[in-house]
Symmetry: C2
Subunit: 239 residues, 2 copies
């Protein structure tokens, strides 16, 4: 009997029992609770996303984006819609090659630019041979319909499902015309919020129609982590 | 009896028992072991010091260093020689005022510049109202005797002791002529290795004599943490 009492007391004292089993964007498992899933989400001083402000014009290397491959499918992992890619898609920066692993979307945007939010932000996630990550971010503004979003949206998967595209298309066609980029050191925007991620936010935006933005938001909901304190970081803008 | 056995087993299992009680620079308690004192020392992706390489010329704000106060004493805390200051000594950066709390020395330098080590590096440690830190670092090269180092060295304290200066002198007189600075986001270079520290390394060096460098090194020993991986950070050089 004593043992049972003790076990009950222990279980009541275990903090994780009160946490949701899976992180998300809700009341119980949203960004304010992510420190329970990975401590750096709460304690990190170099977290993403950020509000891109007071960027210093800087003599940065050109972004070498060699995207020669195809978008082949789209996955709904319950947190985001994520595009699968094939072929040679490589970002070179700091004399290091980073291979494109996937891209995914946030509605509305996670990063802000001069306090401005965008209806959609795409994150192209790259990794080098040592597992270091580099994310190229593209903002979307409401304007004309976007052909690539249209192809991805033909048959959007439900949570846990992957849809193969009838017509694969060039990864490169998703990028806006290049006109410089912002750079800062940040983190994953979802647990485990790992730091040491190179963030490269393109200065030029893509566009999509209001109907397309609404359709993507309906599937993903608000899956944007709030902006994090910049702390000691200086954001750069390539010149 | 049973209780005693259990207690012994528990104590044997406690990991900190195998660690030195205090961090340092020795075989048992040196930088490779600092993760035991604070996890971020081992896992952090934005740690200091660094080798300052491939700095991007950048349109940074001027460094506003308003040092109007005096150096009044010197403390040997067992890790470093640390100068105490009085009066108004303020760094303004990012539209924020950081008050000078102390300065201290490392022999040899902790940061490197283009892979070059210096015999001495001074760290001027500032804090803003919220406890955020900003460190102005000054390198010393061997050349003529340094008057301020001479005044500090007249009667160097032993570990745990503080020596009041016979003749306080202007904090400002310790700085070299200003000629730009490097900037990056880093950490404390000693446990707890806290991140979110603004690092501002002056481009111009100070000088001291070989005898002065030797005397300081004799008191402090090698108290330089090895350079840490730069990961996602881009180092900036003001233009």
């Amino acid at each position: 009997m004593k043992r049972k009492v003790l076990a009950t007391a222990l279980i009541a004292a275990l903090p994780y029992i009160s946490h949701a089993a899976e992180w998300g964007y809700g009341e119980e498992n949203g960004p304010d609770h992510w420190g329970h899933f990975a401590e750096v989400c709460a304690s990190g001083k170099n977290q993403s996303p950020v509000d891109i402000q007071n960027a210093a014009a800087s003599d940065l290397d050109d972004l070498e984006l060699s995207y020669h491959g195809q978008v082949v499918d789209i996955l709904n992992n319950g947190h985001t819609l994520q595009g699968g890619v094939e072929g040679h898609n490589v970002l070179t920066i700091d004399d290091t090659e980073f291979e494109l692993k996937q891209f995914h979307f946030h509605t509305p945007s996670e990063n802000l630019i001069n306090n401005q939010s965008y209806p959609l932000e795409a994150h192209f996630v790259h990794a080098d041979q040592n597992g270091n990550l580099a994310v190229v971010a593209v903002m979307y503004e409401v304007d004309d319909k976007n052909n690539q979003v249209a192809q991805l949206s033909q048959s959007l998967p439900t949570a846990g499902e992957t849809t193969a595209l009838d017509q694969p298309f060039a990864v490169k066609s998703m990028l806006p015309e290049f006109d410089g980029y912002y750079r800062f050191s940040g983190s994953l925007t979802t647990p485990p919020c790992s730091e040491g991620v190179r963030w490269l936010v393109l200065n030029n935006s893509q566009h999509l129609s209001q109907e397309q933005a609404d359709a993507l938001h309906q599937v993903m909901g608000d899956n944007n982590r709030p902006v994090q304190d910049i702390y000691a970081r200086q954001i750069l803008l390539s010149q």
